[in-house]
Symmetry: C2
């Protein structure tokens, strides 16, 4: 299947790499592919430059946001929440229409430093903002509640004995995303209902950030015990 992964950061790389390993046809989207390839230094968190990463993932293509979205049957929003709507507008409404859009982003506002606050919450969510801006897209919120490494390889943490959530207004889209998550190794996939449930999934982030500090690792996840 053809995927367009928007965003070339840690989350985009994890998802694109995993999709390519599963033999999918993956094109990553960025604002300026030449610039992204030309970065020579690690980023502020010590992640290697994109060129070094993609050299180890030769199956993954790099294109503009619009080209990656046009190429795709399924689009993954792996951008920072603060630029998500701009990026999706750059990708182009026509290139998203009718397609499953997996929204992995969180509406984090780092303008006052760490910990970030949420720039939308409680009565609205980033996922709903996306759905309103692109009504023909089939938006599914998923994977935003855990670390990038856990997202794509849940089995490496406690034998995948933990949970992940999906929500969205299109049952067929949720079924496609659920099948993909099973390929990633997820065993406990909980359907939270329509896209308003993204409010709860995004509002988990403040607790997630405190847990990361208390546990001194980002490699953890929530299991819903029932």
């Amino acid at each position: 299947m053809r995927f367009g992964v928007l965003g070339t950061g840690v989350v985009g790389r994890a998802i694109a790499g995993r999709l390519a390993a599963l033999q999918h046809d993956v094109r990553m989207g960025t604002r300026d592919p030449g610039k992204t390839r030309a970065v020579a230094e690690p980023d502020a968190r010590g992640n290697p430059p994109f060129g070094a990463w993609v050299a180890r993932h030769p199956g993954v293509g790099l294109a503009t946001f619009a080209e990656a979205a046009a190429h795709a049957e399924i689009v993954v929003n792996a951008t920072n929440g603060e630029v998500t709507l701009d990026v999706l507008h750059a990708a182009g409404e026509a290139n998203l229409a009718g397609k499953v859009v997996i929204d992995v982003a969180n509406p984090l506002d780092f303008s006052s430093g760490f910990p970030p606050t949420l720039f939308v919450k409680d009565t609205d969510s980033l996922a709903e903002q996306i759905q309103r801006a692109f009504p023909a897209a089939r938006v599914v919120k998923a994977l935003n509640t855990t670390n990038a490494a856990v997202m794509v390889d849940p089995g490496a943490l406690s034998g995948a004995n933990h949970s992940i959530f999906v929500c969205g207004n299109d049952a067929g889209a949720k079924a496609e995303v659920t099948a993909l998550l099973r390929r990633f190794g997820w065993l406990d996939i909980i359907d939270l209902g329509d896209l308003t449930a993204a409010r709860g999934a995004e509002m988990l982030l403040p607790l997630w950030l405190r847990l990361m500090q208390s546990l001194k690792t980002p490699i953890f996840n929530f299991r819903i015990v029932r």
Copy 2:
């Protein structure tokens, strides 16, 4: 030890009943004890009237908010979040000073129906509001992230193989609450740090409410798998 449990609803009853079973000296606080005892009908959710409950818990006393707090060495705020500050003012600043106050409440706003929104969040929390209003109280946020039945008997759900959080600015108070939670049966008690972590614990509620709907039961909890 002497406890004052403020609030006579489902949460207050669960905690007071459990504390009495553990041989503590428990007084529940309410606005008007005579009125609370006189209620003859079940509440809107079908819970029995207080008189019927307390007849099965003869060790639990009933008093005004101020009397219950004055009696207590540890105060439990088991009120609805919307009335919490009013109730604590009725309990009286002097009756809270120097005492551990376990805040179990959530800042739920039902004024627009179900699901509720949060009347404080993200940059502040109900627990912090309490601490600011009563600076001499030793506020610990705990137990607000799960159902009343699970709060006091975690072992009945999956052998207590799930997690609970504490946070607060007073290390000694957190240690006292942690010891109490162990008596309740909690095995995995995670210290989230200072009271600003209550923001994350309270912002878990929207996801909790969606999970209750999806799972069709309130008897579940989060385990932090790491």
